[in-house]
Point group: C2
Chain length 115, copies 2
Amino acid sequence: MNESEVVELYKASQIFKLLGDKTRLTMMKLLQTHDCCVCEFVEIFKMSQPAISQHLRKLRDVGLVKEERRGQWIFYSINNEHEDYPFVQSILNHLPEQNGLVVELEEQGLRISCN
Amino acid sequence: MNESEVVELYKASQIFKLLGDKTRLTMMKLLQTHDCCVCEFVEIFKMSQPAISQHLRKLRDVGLVKEERRGQWIFYSINNEHEDYPFVQSILNHLPEQNGLVVELEEQGLRISCN
DNA sequence: ACATTATATAATCATATACTTATATACGCA
DNA sequence: TGCGTATATAAGTATATGATTATATAATGT
């Protein structure tokens, strides 16, 4: 156990509360390998845009993810400066890849890319 | 990453939902090192007996803990036969020891021991 | 400037959650 | 057998959560 990955118990429970929702947990796993914008998540999860925004806000409020505007889109990514980033990564590493969801998007031509 | 510790995503989110409560998370951490009975948890958490029982039931319903009657008491312990036991352990290992809570109990003479 | 697209936020609502109180069950002991 | 202790469960309640609908804000392209 790397000392930097020891997490105060209450903070851990707050993180687990966030990850205790299948949608948010899948978002985090996806963000591990792909930055995504809101409209991509809307497609992937077949959920309304406000529902997606609200999940992202919860993740952002505790600093697990960060946002960055790119043109018309706002892309979300893992915040690797979060104090418990190593802990969260070590958890996500136990979960199976969800890249199939992104591949589907690409096949539908719905993947957003901008530079 | 040990293959045996890869956990299906929905199941992981269900486990996190359970661990997303400070009381239950602390229970799990304590059980990592000490079997405990309900009345000990009542003392440790300063919560009502039904509240404690209900938290333990949730943990037991998904098989994270098991119970065993010892005389008048029912002791709870980690269920090391749970399919995701290695995953849960690896998570708990990131949390600081909570043994101080048990030591306090012992100092008050409230620790139950029976054989 | 205006229409379109992407996103956030506010208000609302149904359901889930975590507690309380009241009660039932099970064991140990006189 | 009856009493005290330990625990579980049921019912009720307040709050939290996750969705929806409606609306506001911001960027793009004409």
